[in-house]
């Protein structure tokens, strides 16, 4: 998966209809304001030049009248311009705020935590098919996706500029937002409301892919963790269960059902660690486990003092979680 340099986060490169509406609006505002500004500047310069040329003020009733006409015209043009901006803005707001009603939609629950995103694909008909992941959201292209936004601690705000505007996550409420991606790609999202120490490092990636690939991904995610094979991996699993890990993390399939930290059932299939801060490499993972707060001060993951062998075993086990 291409992440990093390939990941784009730009409100001016829309990848979905909502973002496209907003981008259009942005350009309409930009060009309208720019042309008004240019016109104003042109008049200003003209007035300045004329002022230098005409020493004698030209105040006849005729010029008075033409000045009145000019000012009135300018006023009307300005009013029309402002009104037009208002109308386009309201129209765009209504268009992107409207929730799709067709059945071609997917529901995802996004929960903000200090400082990471939990992404859940609920399945009311068969709850055991529910998929939970973190800091990574897969969506099929050309599908309306309803995001239900909730938070467990502070106010956060989800902003995936390529797909839509911002929407706040407020404790005790469920806010909704619709997104849709028109073309495959990896889009970066970011928390847009100061939520404490690591607000800056609270990112997620949205992977938009063909419906078939999405279904494949979701199927893989719904499987439990594989049974460890090598002795190293078996020991690693024991380290996981015995060390503080199991106090906070869940791995479906083994006796670890804690809910404080991200679900780790498929942790190594994700592009990033620490909410978009680190690339998901074995080395980064080792550093993260050993001393997460050194990398991300304030992070709730505590430093872990593991013996070298223990750490290697643990990494070997985590490597199987793909």
């Amino acid at each position: 998966m291409m992440v990093g340099a390939e990941t784009i986060q730009s409100a001016l490169r829309p990848a979905g209809p909502e973002a496209a509406r907003l981008t259009d609006l942005w350009w309409i505002f930009f060009w309208t304001c720019a042309s008004f500004y240019a016109a104003l500047m042109a008049f200003f310069v003209a007035a300045w030049i004329r002022g230098r040329q005409n020493v004698e003020p030209d105040v006849t009733p005729a010029t008075e009248r033409s000045h009145t006409t000019a000012v009135t015209a300018a006023l009307i043009v300005s009013a029309i311009g402002l009104l037009a901006l208002l109308v386009t803005s309201v129209a765009a707001g209504r268009a992107v705020g409207k929730f799709a009603t067709n059945s071609n939609q997917l529901e995802i629950e996004v929960t903000g935590h200090q400082w990471w995103w939990e992404v859940k694909y609920p399945n009311p008909a068969a709850p055991n098919q529910q998929v939970v992941t973190a800091n990574e959201m897969h969506i099929p292209i050309n599908t309306h996706v309803l995001l239900r936004l909730d938070t467990r601690d502070d106010i956060h705000s989800l902003w995936i500029p390529n797909l839509h505007g911002k929407r706040d996550l407020i404790p005790g409420r469920v806010n909704k937002i619709f997104i849709q991606a028109d073309r495959p790609g990896v889009y970066r999202g970011q928390c847009a409301e100061l939520c404490g120490l690591q607000h800056a490092h609270m990112a997620l990636v949205v992977v938009a892919e063909e419906p078939e690939k999405f279904a494949e991904w979701k199927k893989r995610e719904s499987l439990g963790a594989p049974t460890p094979q090598t002795p190293e991996q078996v020991r690693g699993q024991q380290v996981f269960l015995g060390a503080p890990c199991a106090n906070c993390h869940n791995i479906t399939g083994i006796d670890a059902s804690a809910t404080l930290g991200p679900d780790l059932t498929h942790v190594r299939s994700r592009p990033t660690l620490a909410a978009g801060m680190l690339l998901n490499t074995r080395g980064n993972l080792a550093g993260w486990i050993s001393n997460a707060p050194a990398i991300k001060p304030g992070a709730q993951m505590p430093p872990n003092q593991l013996a070298a062998g223990e750490l290697q075993d643990l990494l070997a086990y985590l490597d199987t979680l793909r």
Binding site: P127, T151, N247, G253, D255, S257
Partner: protein, 486 residues
């Protein structure tokens, strides 16, 4: 004293996994032996004549938060034992042990794959929503059935004619319902099983996707009564969710479900699907404080057994009148520690009284009379052929009332609050006696023996908020009172 028996090697740390005080709901006598359970998960068989230990079997696994508080039942040379710990993320189960050896004969889990739940081809629930493969797994988010509760800590009944045992399953865990979408089968329901093999015959879920800790473990009264002019074999159950249910005990069909307290959490029972209709407005969840949840978590009536009098045809229900506020928080599963995810504060329901003692007509589904009590009526009750009903209050009064009218006939102040069950027996001297244990405690009374601090309303799962004044009325104790009938 004839003999005394003290179980060996009781693990004191079991006190840390007993959600609602250190309680034991009784013992059973059969085949010359006395059977009882210990909090740390053992079942003991003791010779009734000399007090010698016959066998001790470890049934529950404390490391996983399992404990045992229920009274065993002996059916056809099997001791039936269920576990407790729905607030600790355990997996509920009912175990049948051989009365002679203590060996496990079968074990029926309340949740999980059909094979574990002993659900086979003979399982014929009345309602379609209970039919399907592995519902004990598919009605839960991945893996959560392994820690989903559904314990069996209440009362088991046996109908020798139909050769069925009936028992309820407790609440799903954690309390915070947002963490476990789905129906959460087979929690908060009632199983009918064959005692020989343990195989399930039918199931009915009182509270699908329970949101308020309405354990379905209350006692079932098995009676044969005319319903709509036809004699029916029914099972009457005053349920925690606030309804008195009358079920056909051969099939599990709901014949009637009538509210007997003030209810805000549900809007009745759908007669077609048998499903409780939840009130979405009162659904607790993350970050929200939901007010006026009635009945509160201990339900309209908790485990305290009611009594049925064939003389009056009435059911005598000791129960509470409590509502609560609740806030959902994140429940985090760490084996052996609580797994609740809710802050609760209880208080008296409409009327301001916290307890009630009702006489209920199950055939016409109506309340006949009712006595209000200051505190929850947390004791069991007893009704005699002489048309007298007995019950105890948490202040310590042991009361006798006229079973037909509810008029108080006699009362006696015992040394402590009463949360035990009165019994009557004919002694060898030919006289009839009534006995009751006095000694306050349990979930409702924990504030007294546990010396809890009433400044924290959430203490003892929120019950302390409603019971802050109890220490002014009673003190801890533990005494058996026996009264001779004149």
């Amino acid at each position: 004293m004839k003999w005394s028996y003290k179980p060996k090697d009781i693990n004191q740390s079991a006190k840390g996994i007993a959600c609602c005080d250190w309680v034991n709901r009784g013992c059973a006598f059969a085949n010359g032996k006395i059977f009882f359970n210990t909090l740390d998960g053992k079942t003991c068989a003791v010779n009734a004549t000399n007090g010698q230990e016959v066998w001790v079997t470890q049934v529950a696994n404390m490391a996983r938060g399992e404990s045992i508080t229920m009274a065993p039942l002996v059916v056809k040379n099997k001791v039936l034992v269920g576990d407790s710990g729905g607030e600790f993320g355990v997996r509920g189960a009912l175990t049948a042990l051989d009365t002679e050896t203590g060996k496990q004969i079968w074990k029926a889990y309340s949740i999980g794959p059909d094979a574990d739940c002993l659900i086979g081809p003979n399982f014929k629930p009345f309602y379609p929503s209970d039919r399907g493969k592995d519902l004990g797994v598919t009605s839960w988010p991945p893996d959560l059935w392994k820690i989903g509760g559904g314990t069996v800590w209440g009362w088991i009944s046996y109908d020798p004619q139909l050769d069925l045992i009936y028992y309820g399953t407790a609440n799903p865990g954690p309390w915070n319902p947002e963490q476990r979408p789905g129906d959460n089968k087979w929690t908060c329901g009632i199983f009918a099983r064959r005692p020989d093999s343990g195989e399930a015959v039918w199931f009915y879920q009182w509270s699908p996707h329970d949101e308020y800790d309405y354990d379905g473990v209350n006692e079932q009264i098995l009676v044969d009564v005319p319903i709509n002019g036809r004699m029916r074999k029914v099972l009457v159950r005053a349920e925690r969710n606030g309804h008195v249910y009358v079920l056909d005990r051969t099939t599990g069909e709901v014949l009637s479900a009538t509210p007997f307290v003030y209810i805000t959490t549900s809007k009745g029972v759908d007669p077609k699907t048998g499903r409780l209709i939840p009130n979405e407005e009162k659904s607790p969840g993350f970050g929200r404080v939901v007010r006026e949840i009635c009945p509160a978590s201990p339900g309209a009536k908790d485990w305290q057994p009611s009594a049925y009098s064939p003389v009056t045809g009435l059911l005598y229900i000791p129960h509470q009148n409590l509502c609560q506020d609740e806030e959902g928080v994140q429940a985090n599963y760490i084996a052996g520690t609580p797994y609740v995810g809710a802050n609760v504060k209880m208080y008296a329901g409409p009327g301001g009284h916290r307890g009630e003692y009702d006489a209920w007509d199950p055939i016409h589904a109506r309340k006949v009379w009712s006595i209000r009590e200051r505190f929850p009526v947390w004791s069991g009750t007893l009704v005699t052929a002489g048309n007298v009903a007995f019950y105890g209050t948490m202040e310590g009064w042991f009361k006798a009332v006229n079973a037909t009218t509810g008029d108080l006939l006699w009362q006696f102040k015992t040394g402590s609050g009463i949360v035990g069950q009165p019994v009557t027996f004919l002694a060898p001297d030919g006289k009839q006696y009534i006995s009751v244990l006095s000694g306050v405690g349990g979930w409702s009374g924990a504030i007294v023996p546990g010396q809890l601090d009433p400044r924290d309303g959430t203490a003892a799962l929120g019950f302390v908020n409603a019971m802050g004044d109890l220490p002014m009325y009673t003190t801890k104790g533990g005494m058996l009172y026996t009264f001779g009938l004149p």
